[in-house]
Structure formats: C-alpha cells, structure tokens
Subunit: 250 residues, 2 copies
Amino acid sequence: MTQNIYDNPDFFSAYAALPRSREGLEGAPEWPSVRALLPPMRGLRVLDLGCGYGWFCRWAREAGAASITGVDVSAMMLARAAELAGDPAVTYLRADLETFAPSGTFDLAYSSLALHYVVDLGRLFAAVNGALAPGGAFVFTAEHPLFTAPRRPGWVRDAEGRATWPIDSYLIEGPRVTDWLAPDVVKQHRTIGTLLTVLLRAGFVIGHVEEWGPTDAQVAERPALAAERDRPTFLIVAAHKPPNGTIERQ
Amino acid sequence: MTQNIYDNPDFFSAYAALPRSREGLEGAPEWPSVRALLPPMRGLRVLDLGCGYGWFCRWAREAGAASITGVDVSAMMLARAAELAGDPAVTYLRADLETFAPSGTFDLAYSSLALHYVVDLGRLFAAVNGALAPGGAFVFTAEHPLFTAPRRPGWVRDAEGRATWPIDSYLIEGPRVTDWLAPDVVKQHRTIGTLLTVLLRAGFVIGHVEEWGPTDAQVAERPALAAERDRPTFLIVAAHKPPNGTIERQ
C-alpha cells in the first residue's frame, strides 16, 4: 500500500496550512497552466486521482462536468472534502492508487501531485487508460524529478552566494525519504523519460509536457516563486487515449 | 548562423581525440540505446543532421539504407567524412542547420548531439517534418538540459565528499557559453518540455523519450560513466510523422 502520510495528524495540520490547502486551486501557482490544458468541462465524466480536499472536483462541477469521482487514500482528506461538498454528482471514494480499479467510463482523468506517491505507475496508467472513453484526456501534475532526485535536497550557496540545487542520483529511481511537513515522507523518484515511457506503454498519446515555471506577475506577487526558475518543482503532462482506442503507429 | 566551433582548429584537434571521434559509433556509450530505436535500415532514405565525420552515414549504408544525406556546417568535419567515404549512395552537404531546407523525401531523419547548437529548433523540426515521408521516423540525441542548464557547470563535492551537480537557471532557456574542448563554445539550453513541445508543434508523434544512463557492463568497462547516473548528459528522443501525414487528435 502507498504510504498514507495524509492521515498522520501532524502532517495533516501542516498540509492544511499551505496556500493550496487554504485557498484551493487559486493557491496553487501551477493551476492556470494546468487549467489551460483541460478540455471544455461541460458534460464530462471526470475522475480525480488523489482528490485531497476535493477542490478540483468542486471546480469541475462548477465548470459543468456531468459527474465527478474523487479518489483518495486519506480518510482525513475525504472527511474534509465531504464537509465542503454535498453535490449528488460528486462521489468521493477511499482507495489506494496502487490497487484502485476505476469502474465506469470517464472522459477526463485528472491528478494533481499524487502520482509521485505511487510505486506501480504502469498498473495505474493502464487502469486509467482502460477506464477512459476513446479520445478521453489524461491531465496530471507530479513533482518534477529535479525536485525529487537528490539524496540531500535543499538549496546550497556557492562561493559567490548564489543558490544552486545539488543534483545527484537522478537516474537512480525509486523511493526518496524526505522531511516534508512531517518526517519520513516517502516519494517515488522517477525521471521524465520513465514517466513518459510508462504513459506511452499504457496506450496514451502524449500531447503536452511542461516543466512549470512562474510568470513575471506571479513572481512579483510571490517573490519566492523565482526559485522555480532555477529548479522547477512541478511537471505537467497532458495525454489522450486515441479516438479509436488504440495507438496509431507507422 | 550557428556558431561553427568545429572549424576552430584547436577545437577540431581536441574533438578528434574523443573516443566517439576515434572509435566511431562504438566509442559513443549511448549508441546501443539509439540503435535500438532505429527502424530496419534496408532501403531507407536517410538524412543525418550534423553528420560530423560521417560515422552514422557509413553505418546506415552498411545496414542497407538506399541513400544517405549527411549535413554539417563544418568544412573540416566534412573533409574528414569525405576522406573516409566514397560510396555514391552517400552525399555530404555543407549547410547550417539554422537555415537548412532538405530537398527530397526521407524515411528517417537522424541527429546526434547537434541540436543543442541550433537556435531556431521550431523552424528545423518543421523542415524535417516536411521532408519526411508519411510514417517517417525522427530519432535524435541532444545534450540533456541538466548538463546544459548551470551557469557554472561542474561537479561539486558536498560536506561528505559526495559529488553533486549544481543546478540553477534550469527554466531560463537560451545560450550557454562553456569551455568545452575550446573556450567560448555556445550551446542552446532548453528544457525537455520545450524540446517535446517544439516537436509536437512541428507535427510529430512522440514515441520514446530516454534520459540515457549506462549499463552495469558499461560502468565496469568505463567507471567514469557511473557519474551519468547522478546527472545524465544525453537525451534520446524518437518520434514519427503520422502515417496520414497529419496529427490524429481527439
């Protein structure tokens, strides 16, 4: 089973204090870039993998989605999501993404910053592909491998006082244990190449790959975001299932 | 015009001493991974962008390609390529990849470690797409953005003596001036995301993205290659033009 750090009360409290927890999608600086990749939501059947508080589920509903299924492993997150919801078109399911098998058919699968907890991404991507209608979209964000790679993550000052990010072990994939909001949080480091290879093998066509950086306006508002330009934190990918359901090859 | 550092005699001499120059494809550790992505060569019309000494052109001919066009901006490289060749099916052209417009139709476009010199990659990729037959393949390597990104590239020892690679400016694309074999070599830094976006916009379907690392056998033979696992140098991409000549979209 995936580590369920979100049901650790200390972690949950710290997570609840993040801008993206307090302010929802508007508190997530990468959200405008993600939103630009989403199809028109009206009438769509939406699956949200790692829905957390359900901010995206509620946004999708307001944007006209026909039905939304939010999945999360954390009982505490889902309890909070349920508090904030109450729409019969929104269903929350507690499930582990290592074993989750979607039932039903979806037009859009979405996932925000959850996939770096999943060990068996090939299984999950194949399950998502199987649950999508032909032509269906899969849009997700994950932590960038530059962020997850180092054995000792953290900015280092060089001789001139300039901050650099000490990369090592970039091609050595697998678990990374960090102290992020709580001790011993386990994330799965994998390269962009591996992530895209797993996606292609699951039958997806790659539509967009973005290593997210802030706009000048975002940096003016939140100067700390400038560090993203030195070392990005977020990877954004859009893919789709071919309209005929299988990959067109030469 | 792209900087033509290869016609600098000092650079040329230093380049000639590299294993990949002396030993050809077998001296390039990434070659087995690249070769695995190539289509069966028999009967193919092949375009090699940045052919250098022509090692790949000769390999392609020996592997059964019907015709090979090798393009390079360096007169000194092409003179050396001509020395080693003499096959009427192999044509060498001197051209700058910033402005090169292929004539004829090709089944495979190939490029090894040349694209990081090209400023206007969108123009070149569109030209390559236009010159490929429907279903044609485009397989290339480029320097990995982790290698090109830093303002001060070079391994740094941390407090425990472990080597790390100091990343900064990763999202700040554009020229990087380094001393590689000669002073003031200008390479174009761009992210994986940008490279793939330019490829998609040019009409290609992405088939494979690999951040190259050595096998255990390669590390046993050349221990210095182990550092690639900490910070890869090579990116390998395979794409193709859709069989019907245009991108299939939902």
